[in-house]
C-alpha cells in the first residue's frame, strides 16, 4: 500500500507525483528524435561521421527523456495523482502495488508510452552497439529509427497525452479492469510490445541498406540478434496472451481468432518467414529483395495491428483502450508502405540473386515453400480480419468472420507447415537425390504410421486429429534424428557419452540446433491444439449438495463461502471432484476446486475466476458463470485434453530461443563454391 503523509501520497521511492514534468519531458524527447532524424540524414548524405554520431547521441537523449516521462507517470500512479485523467481512469487507491505498476499500460495513452519507451531505448542501444557496422548504414538506420520514434512521440504529444489533467481531481480512481488484474498481464503486454517494437530495428537497418545503396547482407548481420529477440518476445507474448485468455476469460479456450490476437499473429507469421529466408541470403546471397520486402511487411503489420485495435473499427474482447489515434495511423502506414516499395523497386537490379538454384530438391526450395506457406497463412488471417470492414465498405452489410473461417482456412496451411518443419532438416543444401531423401524419410514416416494406427485403434475418430498427431510424430522424429545424427559424429570423433555428445552438438551450432529445439516446442504446442478434438463441455445450475458430470468426472457443489477484501466481494464455490463413478457407485476422490464469482468494488464489475486441475493428459476447468441470492450457481465445466502440452511446448520454445540467442554473432566469410556437395558434407552439423 502506498504511504500517505499529511494528505499527500508518496510512491515507494519517496517521491510525490512528478506528473508536471512528464509532458515537457515527452516534448523534449520529440525534439531530440526530430534532431536525430536531421543529423543522421545529413551525416549519411555528406559522409560526415561527426554529424551522424551527434544524431545517434540525440536518439539516446530522446530515449532518456522518454524514460523520464514514463517514470513521471509511474510516480503519478503510485502517488494516486488523480488529477491526471489517465491515472484516474486506470487505477484506484485499493489497487495493489504490482497492478498499480501494470496500470501504466492499462489504457491507450500508457500503452503508447510503453511502446515509445521500448522503441527509443531499444533503438538507442541498437544504434550505439552497431558501431562496427558501416558508418553510412548506421547513420541511415539512425535517421529511419528516429523518424519512427517521432511518429509515436507525436501521438503522445498531441492526440494521446498521458499527462492530460482533469478539471477537478476525483477522490478515488475508477480502478483497473478486473480482467487486467492477472499476473500474466504484468509481463504479457511488455513482451508483446517488445516484439512489435523490436522489428523496428531490422526494418530501420533494412531501409538504411536501401538508402545507402548497399547490396550486401551487413544489415542482416547487424540486426540478426535483435530480430531473434523481437521474434522470441512476440512468441512468448502471444503464448502468454493465450494463457491469460485461458485462465481469465472463463470460456475454456486459449485462442479465439479475435482481431487483437490476429493483430499479434500476423507479424509473427511474416517474421517467422523472414527468420527462415534470411538463412538463404546469408548462405547463398539469394532472396535479397524478398527479405527486405518481408521485414517491411512485418513492420507494417505490427503497426497495422496497433491501428486495428486502437482505432475501434474492429471490436475485440482484448481491447481495453480505444481512442482518437486511429486516423493518424493510416497515413503513416501508407507512407511507410509506399516509400518502402518505391525504395525496393529502385534497387531491384542491384539486389538480384548472386547464385543459382542447383536443384529443385534442395534446402533452398524447402525454405521457399516455407515462405509461401507462412505468407499464405498471414494473408488468410489478414483477409479474415479485415473482410468485415471491406464488405461493409463495399456493400453496406456487416458480416462476421470468426473462428469457423480461420479454423477451416488456416489449419490446413498450419499442418502443411508442420510437415515441412519435419521435411526441411532432412533435405541438404544445394541438391539432393530423391532416393537419399526417401531413405531418410523411412523412419519418421514409419513412426507416424504407428502413431496414427495406435491412436485410431485406441478410439481417436477425428481425421483432422489423426492427421495432426501423425504429422507431429513425423516431425518430432525427423528433428530428433538430426540431434542423434549430430551427436553420433561427436561421440565417434571425441569418444563422448551420449548426453555429452548431445551437449557438444548443440553448443557448437547453436543457431541450427536452437532452431530445432524451437521446432520441437512447436510440435508439442500442435499436440496440445490437436487434443481439442476430444474437448467435453457441460453447464448446469446447481444448488448446494447437487452434482453434475463432465467427461469421466463428477462435480459436487458443496457450498459457497462469501467474504470481502478492500478490492472485491469474493464468492468462493467449493467443488468436490471425483472420477470414474457411476450412478450406483461413488468415484475416486480427485480434488476440491474453488472457482470464484467476485464483485470488484472500484470498477463495479463482476468477474469470474476459473479453477483448473491440470495434468499432462487433460485439464479439468470449472467456472461459475452466475450466483443467485440463494447461493445456487451456474457451473460451466470443461475437460480439455492435452492443453498442458501447449504450455510445455512454449517452455521448450523458450529454451530453444535461449540457445539461439546465446550463440556467437556470425562473421561473413566467402568460400569458393565446391563443384559438388555430397549429402553427408552438406548435412553434417
Amino acid at each position: 500500500m502506498p504511504l500517505e503523509v499529511q494528505g499527500q501520497s508518496l510512491n515507494p521511492l519517496g517521491l510525490g507525483s512528478l506528473a508536471g514534468l512528464g509532458r515537457p519531458s515527452l516534448l523534449a524527447a520529440l525534439a531530440f528524435a526530430a534532431a536525430s532524424v536531421v543529423l543522421c540524414s545529413l551525416g549519411a548524405r555528406r559522409a560526415r561521421r561527426d554529424l551522424s554520431d551527434a544524431g545517434i547521441r540525440a536518439a539516446v537523449a530522446a530515449a532518456g527523456f522518454t524514460s523520464f516521462a514514463t517514470f513521471c507517470l509511474l510516480t503519478a500512479f503510485f502517488a494516486h495523482d488523480f488529477s491526471l485523467a489517465y491515472v484516474a481512469s486506470y487505477s484506484s487507491r485499493s489497487l495493489t502495488g504490482a497492478y498499480t505498476f501494470s496500470a501504466l499500460w492499462g489504457g491507450m495513452e500508457g500503452s503508447l508510452l510503453l511502446w515509445a519507451l521500448l522503441l527509443t531505448v531499444l533503438g538507442a542501444i541498437a544504434l550505439t552497439r552497431a558501431s562496427s557496422a558501416s558508418t553510412d548504414l548506421v547513420a541511415w538506420a539512425g535517421a529511419v529509427f528516429s523518424s519512427v520514434s517521432c511518429f509515436f512521440l507525436f501521438l503522445l504529444a498531441v492526440p494521446a497525452d498521458p499527462f492530460a489533467r482533469l478539471a477537478a481531481a476525483p477522490a478515488d480512481g475508477q480502478g483497473l479492469n478486473p480482467l487486467l488484474q492477472s499476473p500474466g498481464m504484468l509481463i504479457h503486454p511488455p513482451l508483446l510490445y517488445l516484439g512489435f517494437v523490436g522489428f523496428s530495428i531490422p526494418f530501420a537497418f533494412g531501409v538504411a541498406a536501401l538508402l545507402s545503396k548497399r547490396s550486401d547482407d551487413e544489415w542482416l548481420r547487424a540486426t540478426r540478434r535483435w530480430t531473434l529477440l523481437a521474434w522470441s518476445s512476440l512468441s512468448i507474448g502471444i503464448v502468454l496472451g493465450g494463457a491469460w485468455a485461458y485462465t481469465e476469460l472463463g470460456w475454456g479456450g486459449y485462442w479465439a481468432w479475435d482481431p487483437v490476437e490476429n493483430a499479434s499473429f500476423m507479424p509473427w507469421l511474416t517474421a517467422t518467414a523472414f527468420l527462415h529466408s534470411i538463412v538463404i541470403q546469408e548462405k547463398r546471397r539469394m532472396l535479397k529483395v524478398w527479405n527486405l520486402s518481408l521485414i517491411l511487411l512485418t513492420y507494417v503489420l505490427a503497426v497495422f495491428g496497433t491501428f486495428l485495435t486502437r482505432s475501434g473499427i474492429l471490436s475485440s474482447i482484448h481491447t481495453f483502450s480505444e481512442g482518437d489515434v486511429g486516423k493518424y495511423f493510416l497515413p503513416y502506414l501508407a507512407l511507410v508502405l509506399i516509400a518502402g516499395i518505391a525504395l525496393i523497386a529502385t534497387r531491384l537490379n542491384a539486389l538480384s540473386s548472386e547464385n543459382r538454384l542447383d536443384s529443385l530438391l534442395s534446402r533452398e526450395s524447402a525454405f521457399m515453400a516455407n515462405n509461401v506457406l507462412f505468407l499464405a497463412a498471414a494473408f488468410t488471417v489478414l483477409w479474415g480480419t479485415v473482410y468485415p470492414i471491406v464488405n461493409e465498405w463495399l456493400t453496406g452489410l456487416r458480416l462476421s468472420v470468426g473462428p469457423p473461417f480461420f479454423n477451416r482456412a488456416f489449419v490446413p496451411i498450419g499442418l502443411a507447415i508442420i510437415a515441412l518443419t519435419g521435411l526441411g532438416p532432412l533435405i541438404s543444401w544445394r541438391r539432393m537425390r530423391g532416393a537419399a531423401l526417401l531413405r531418410l524419410l523411412r523412419v519418421p514416416l514409419a513412426i507416424a504410421v504407428v502413431v496414427v494406427a495406435g491412436l485410431g485403434l485406441g478410439g481417436v475418430d477425428s481425421f483432422g486429429a489423426l492427421l495432426a498427431f501423425g504429422l507431429c510424430a513425423f516431425t518430432a522424429t525427423a528433428v530428433g534424428s538430426e540431434f542423434v545424427r549430430g551427436s553420433r559424429v561427436h561421440r565417434r570423433r571425441e569418444g563422448l557419452s551420449w548426453p555429452a555428445a548431445l551437449g557438444h552438438t548443440v553448443a557448437r551450432n547453436r543457431r541450427r540446433y536452437g532452431g530445432y529445439v524451437v521446432h520441437l516446442g512447436v510440435v508439442l504446442i500442435v499436440i496440445g491444439f490437436a487434443g481439442g478434438w476430444a474437448k467435453v463441455e457441460r453447464s448446469r445450475e446447481l444448488d448446494a449438495g447437487e452434482s453434475m458430470r463432465v467427461g469421466d468426472y463428477a462435480l459436487n457443489y458443496e457450498g459457497l463461502a462469501s467474504s470481502e477484501t478492500p478490492e472485491k466481494q469474493v464468492n468462493d464455490a467449493a467443488i468436490r471432484v471425483t472420477r470414474g463413478g457411476r450412478e450406483d457407485k461413488p468415484g475416486d476422490f480427485v480434488t476440491v476446486l474453488h472457482p470464484q464469482r467476485n464483485f470488484h468494488l472500484a470498477s463495479r464489475q463482476t468477474q469470474s475466476e476459473v479453477a483448473i486441475r491440470t495434468t499432462p493428459l487433460e485439464d479439468l476447468y470449472v467456472v461459475v458463470t452466475a450466483v443467485d441470492a440463494d447461493s445456487a450457481i451456474v457451473l460451466r465445466a470443461f475437460v480439455n485434453p492435452l492443453t498442458w502440452w501447449i504450455w510445455a511446448g512454449a517452455f521448450v520454445m523458450v529454451g530453444g530461443m535461449g540457445v539461439l540467442l546465446s550463440g556467437p554473432s556470425p562473421v561473413s566469410v566467402t568460400v569458393p563454391a565446391p563443384r559438388r556437395l555430397s549429402h553427408a558434407a552438406a548435412t553434417s552439423p
Binding site: L249, W251, E282, S315, L360, L399, V401, G402, P404, G663
Partner: protein, 158 residues
C-alpha cells in the same frame, strides 16, 4: 506410401461417429455463431446472461429434433446474416473463402516459377557466400586439415 494410404483409409472407414448429446450439438452451433450480446466473440465464448439463455434455447431446439440448418435459419431470421461466424462458401460468401486459396495457389505458382528460373540460370563464377561463426570456421579448418592428412596418407600407400 501405399501402407500409409491403406492405414488412413481403414481408420477413416472404422471411425463411426457416435450420436452426439444435444448439449454437444448446441455447443457446436454456439461456436458457429457470433454473440449478439458481446462484441467480437462467438456465442459460445460470450459470458453474458443473455448468451447463456440463447445457448439454452438452442439446446432446447436440438432436443426437439430441429436440424442445424433449421436452427441457423431461426437465428438468422432473429439476428440477421451477421450472426454467422463465417459466411457459407456459396454466393457472395464465396468472396471470403476464395482469396486465401487464390493467394496460396498464386504463391506456390510464383515460387515454382522462380525456382525453375533460378535452377535453369547459367552457373556464374561468383563465389558462394557462407556466413560462419568462428566455431564453424575453426571446425571447417580442422576437418579440412584432417582430409588433407588422410589424402596424404592415401598418397603414401604403395
Amino acid at each position: 506410401m501405399r501402407v500409409i494410404a491403406a492405414v488412413a483409409t481403414c481408420l477413416f472407414l472404422l471411425a463411426s461417429p457416435a450420436a452426439a448429446a444435444p448439449e454437444d450439438v448446441a455447443n457446436d452451433i454456439s461456436n458457429e455463431i457470433m454473440s449478439p450480446f458481446c462484441d467480437g466473440v462467438t456465442l459460445h465464448d460470450c459470458p453474458s446472461q443473455e448468451a447463456l439463455e440463447l445457448r439454452d434455447r438452442i439446446e432446447a431446439w436440438v432436443s426437439q429434433g430441429q436440424s442445424r440448418t433449421q436452427i441457423m435459419s431461426h437465428l438468422e431470421r432473429e439476428f440477421g446474416a451477421g450472426i454467422r461466424a463465417a459466411p457459407p462458401a456459396e454466393g457472395a460468401g464465396f468472396a471470403v473463402w476464395l482469396p486465401p486459396l487464390a493467394a496460396l495457389a498464386a504463391g506456390a505458382a510464383g515460387a515454382w516459377a522462380i525456382v525453375r528460373k533460378w535452377s535453369r540460370r547459367t552457373h556464374t563464377a561468383l563465389p558462394v557466400s557462407v556466413t560462419m561463426t568462428s566455431e564453424e570456421r575453426h571446425r571447417l579448418d580442422h576437418e579440412l586439415a584432417m582430409l588433407r592428412t588422410a589424402a596424404s596418407r592415401e598418397g603414401e600407400r604403395p
